[in-house]
Assembly symmetry: C2
Homo-oligomer: 718 residues x 2
């Protein structure tokens, strides 16, 4: 019994310690450095020279205080002279810091960038943060704190010259409704408690702003692209104003979704025709009304003429007519319109892949200068893997903004560990070959290729009211990666993972490496166990939970899974070459050539562009069927490997989150098996071939998988 009691005591202690690690603190835990030498080095920075004035300066100081108390168990003290300080935070226009960089650096920093210098004087570190603005200093401070919270030696904290953001708008798009449901939200209700706004300022709003600013996010669209117009009424604008006041010191500007038919619904007009002067006047007055409350309002995010949403095409106008009308209302206030290219017409298209390109390329050059077109990373809809969207590089005169999805609508919701960093960098790093070779998607988005005056990168938020914000503790990494890549699209996913892990879980090098390995293979794993070889959109109808490749009951063809995989006795895949829909033609000639034949198309995109026979041989010597089955199996095994790696990390990670992730990996492993078994059972009805060695027989007959129903799968907005 006494031995048992000791065991109990150890377990109880672990659970006690664990209560602190709810995940609420995100990557801003500010745990003490693991190494004592590092900690003593950091202590030099406790003497801070900083002349505070703006509200942004105040939040900078509050953050330093919080961070140093966490990491060093000491409070920073203000030092009257730069000489006696370890951390010098100064605008370039002041004296001390400017000397440390070439004279070009301040200009390179622009309005948001910063530079950091490190030197050692008499054995003590001195760190200089310089910027042109308060917000630049805040970003520079977060740069230093990120470095310290990862437990790294101060020598590495310096920037090589200026660190300035690659994009103007680094953004989260919330798909949050006013009833607090979140479309495709898997982490609880919307964090916006509209009922208690504007009078109640939830601490979450402040912590949300802190987290965003720490990774450079400077814009948020509060409402769902499918939301109604109520958010534009005065009572709601008062609530939005209250949030804007919270966000302002953190450099974050608010966007709202503008329902195109708002002039009818809340304005009492009979039309929303963008060429109607009454409509134009209504939007101008609405913009004036918003800016009177929120002088730094960002602008409107618009989904129009897509999935049943109203838009200019309802009146025989085109997207530019609609966008420009709104742009003209916002222009006097320096606001912008973000117009989504995810269009989805009422009629069933020949190939849904092609519609955005077809509608937007003819309009290139016809948008006002304060309009951005926001394009999803791929041509369909946030699938586990897509080729890059052919619009990137195809709109030289239209600022083209990236829309990634952080919320894992098609990637296991908040129960699968899927680090999206590798997926983001795969897309961003792809050469569009437009106008010439060497222009990556990142170059297009950051304005380098075509000199866009507006640039941006958005992530559809995975944030909810769950205690840890994102449901899965690892889903926080996707929010983090979006911010970091929007600032610098050339960062690599592994480095981002490294710094996120060290701040979030542990600084222990072997543990960081092991967690990073899990993360880095997780995206390939989900592709393998859900949609290998270029399969896409074979998830459950409506809720998108689980496999349903057999689904063919939707009211229109391109809402069916069978539309996308086209499996029959001959083979599987969507022929998008010249013998099929020829969507391929929308890419630069380089890619047309690359992907025109199945032989030269990488396996990862094969069935995106080709219908391939079940028994056709692939370059690796296997048949398509064998390869598909083995890849499903590989996906399952990759999750099992993640489970094994995580089990080894019990000592390195706090008990509570360790247990959470253990449970979630268990769900993920079960669901990977479900995906494999359901998909292979179904596709086997066409291939009529046995499973290759190493792929176990499905646990249930196909009918079992087909009869599963999930009426309350999360993320379905009301």
């Amino acid at each position: 019994m006494w031995k048992k009691a000791i065991l109990w005591a150890a377990a109880a202690l672990a659970s006690l310690i664990a209560t602190a690690e709810t995940g609420y603190e995100l990557w801003q835990r500010y745990a003490p450095p693991a190494q004592a030498t590092i900690a003593s080095q950091y202590r030099s920075l406790l003497a801070v020279h900083f002349r505070s004035g703006t509200p942004t300066d105040s939040v900078l100081l509050a953050e330093l205080d919080r961070a140093f108390q966490g990491m060093l168990r000491s409070r920073p003290r203000l030092s009257p002279s730069p000489q006696s300080a370890g951390l010098i935070i100064q605008l370039f226009q002041e004296s001390a810091v400017a000397a440390w960089w070439p004279s070009s650096v301040p200009q390179q920093c622009g309005p948001e960038g910063f530079a950091v210098h490190h030197r050692v004087v008499a054995g003590r570190s001195q760190v200089f943060i310089g910027a042109n603005t308060s917000i630049g200093l805040l970003y520079g401070t977060f740069h230093v704190l990120r470095h310290m919270a990862a437990g790294r030696p101060l020598a590495g904290v310096a920037t090589a010259g200026a660190s300035a953001p690659a994009t103007r708008w680094r953004m989260l798009n919330h798909w949050d409704n006013l009833d607090r449901s979140v479309e495709r939200g898997y982490a609880g209700q919307s964090i916006w408690n509209w009922h208690t706004l504007p009078d109640y300022i939830d601490q979450r709003y402040i912590d949300y702003a802190r987290a965003n600013a720490s990774i450079g996010i400077n814009a948020v669209a509060l409402t769902n692209v499918n939301a109604n117009a109520t958010v534009l009424t005065p009572a709601y604008l008062e609530k939005v104003k209250a949030l804007a006041q919270v966000f302002r010191p953190y450099g974050i500007r608010i966007f709202l979704t503008a329902r195109f038919s708002a002039p009818i619904e809340i304005g009492g007009l009979k039309t929303a025709d963008p060429l109607d002067t009454a409509v134009q006047g209504w939007w101008q007055r609405k913009a004036d009304e918003i800016y009177q409350r929120i002088p730094d309002f960002g602008g409107f995010l618009v989904k129009a003429n897509s999935e049943g949403q109203p838009g200019p095409q309802n009146y025989g106008r085109h997207h530019a007519d609609g966008a420009n009308m709104l742009a003209k209302a916002l222009a006097p206030h320096a606001g912008v319109v973000i117009w989504r290219a995810f269009v989805y017409s009422h009629e069933t298209p020949e190939d849904r892949f092609k519609q955005a390109y077809q509608e937007f390329v003819p309009l290139d050059g016809r948008f006002d200068s304060n309009v951005l077109v926001q394009v999803k990373n791929g041509p369909i809809d946030f699938q586990p893997r897509e080729p890059f969207h052919p619009l990137f590089g195809a709109l030289p005169r239209t600022p083209t903004m990236m829309e990634f999805q952080l919320t894992q609508e098609y990637l296991g919701f908040a129960t699968h560990l899927v680090y999206l960093g590798p997926m983001f960098t795969e897309v961003l790093g792809t050469d569009t070959h437009r106008p010439t070779a060497g222009n990556t998607v990142a170059d297009v988005v950051s304005g380098k290729s075509f000199g866009y005056t507006q640039t941006g990168m958005a992530g559809v938020s995975n944030i909810g009211a769950d205690l840890n914000w994102t449901g899965h503790p690892f889903a926080q990494a996707n929010w983090y990666a979006l911010g970091r890549l929007a600032w610098n699209p050339r960062l690599d996913a592994a480095s981002i993972a490294n710094e996120w892990i060290a701040q979030t879980f542990t600084q222990q090098p072997a543990a960081v490496a092991s967690i990073r390995q899990m993360m880095m293979q997780s995206h390939e794993a989900v592709v393998n166990y859900m949609t290998p070889l270029g399969l896409h959109h074979i998830m459950g109808y409506g809720h998108h939970y689980g496999p349903a490749p057999w689904y063919d009951k939707a009211s229109r063809a391109d809402w069916n899974c069978t539309y996308f995989h086209r499996a029959d006795q001959h083979g599987i895949g969507f022929d998008r070459t010249s013998t099929g829909s020829n969507a391929l033609q929308q890419y630069a000639p380089y890619w047309q050539q690359q992907w025109a034949s199945a032989k030269s198309t990488p396996l990862s995109l094969l069935l995106w562009f080709h219908k391939v026979g079940w028994s056709e041989g692939l370059p690796n010597g296997k048949t398509l069927w064998q390869n598909m089955a083995l890849q499903y199996q590989q996906g399952v095994q990759q999750v099992q490997q993640m489970q094994q790696s995580w089990a080894q990390l019990r000592q390195a990670v706090d008990e509570r989150r360790h247990q959470q992730v253990t449970q979630l990996l268990h769900i993920q492993a079960s669901e990977a098996v479900w995906w494999r078994d359901a998909c292979l059972s179904y596709f086997q009805t066409f291939s009529k071939q046995p499973l290759p060695a190493g792929v176990p027989a499905p646990q249930h007959p196909l009918e079992y998988y087909q009869q599963l129903r999930f009426p309350y799968a999360p993320g379905q907005a009301h």
Copy 2:
């Protein structure tokens, strides 16, 4: 600037400390005792003698460990002999503890009770906890921890003999739907994440069980009384089973709502007629199926033939027919049926007040022995103040269970500070005069009056996924009070407030007194600013947010506010005496006599039973109109007093929760003014009299209040 920096530093420190106080810990914060002498006294208890064996014993030890680390910054150690221990926790059948009480105590404790003894030996405290069962020991341990967490001297920890619960079922009724919406929920989504159950066990489930066990709650109905039958399907029963496994060590049993038409909806039958043998067989098999998974399943909670829910009356049967059919299915497993008396027929009644009594009194004696009838505290629907329900005392042969509402559907949602303790004790302490004088509602409910074999008290839960569980930090007190009163309905509300405050906010006596005073007047305040003098059900239609006494557009008369207040040029109030609906006849003769005339009816219930002329004089010398106006004004002033008291408590309460409550009181004060102005503006159109001195003119014309719309008011289930 340096002075400013110091100020900044103080503020930042406060906000840092505050991050710990999210409210998630509820009353289980286990803060160190404020007095050093008390702390040193407590340290004796670190030596614990306890022979652990059952799962309940394990959670007892884990709780001790958590509590002592919190309060004493030390871990308890197990002591092999009782002599060397400070805290001795033993079953009566073991040796050490039984000696401390009269031999009758073990029997008085029953299966859940406990006894606590304290003595001082050689200057050191020894505390003995005895019980017949593991769960009794757990309750006894929570008794001791509650005492310590309130910082009280150990001498007062002893119980006077046995502490045994007054009721068998001490229960929370969740109105949670499977899509995680909560009907009348104001604290976020349902904490039951059905999608990730059974594989993912959220830490919240464990902390929820800990909190409930700490106040003696031993039963929870997981699902909404209006829920569909899906929760009874095998996939969901697996999820329920997982929760039952979490709750079992904490002595908590699960109930599910049973939709009466389930045999049709999920059973494929053509009828749900309770006298149909196929229907009976279906329920028997369903019960067997549930108990196979959950051997300690509590039973079914049923809302039938009310507000459109199906029930036995659909087949020409009565409530006892329906309840007994379910009871017979549960009886072999010792399960019970809780049948709600909140019935609400399809036809508009003469007086909705009367329906429950009319339907249930004739059935008294016809229910099986494992059926309880659950009766709301008042005859209408959880209004700020109601007379006690006439069914209490009117069902001598039918176990009558109390249904309170913790969630503040009609009391300001989660934004108004309303401590319901005084309301609960007001009802429980009322003498029903049935069968004779001296039988209070508490006596009826606890089985004392009629010797019921089943007893219970339920609270409709105010719990959601908000960080602090209940939205308003003070709403936690209502959950707490329900548990404490279900265990001992003779506790007074102020004592409950005292212990809750000391555990939750501060042990500082002046601060405790000030907070208690706020709490104790808060219920009277909300009655005053919403529904003084016996007004009721004049809230906004459907969502019940804000005042709408003018509302008369509902499809049936008794859904209109005008139905309940009956204001016209002559006066206001619902005549329920013999000249009116004569609902009064449903009470014992004592109350009939008391309330038959307006003169002998207390002002607090006046308009519940009488229509009174605007200019009629009241005993206090004022006219009805004057009194009404002044009471609305008094309600506003009481909230303003609460604001002032709270402002004084800045030093006594952590910054974060202090700020939260400050903001919420600001909302409450604004809404109290809104209530006063809207109601008085409206009623003035009938009284045609000026507002008395001291009542300010309304801020807006009546039309302003009438045009307000709240399409997204929370708590409206989908």
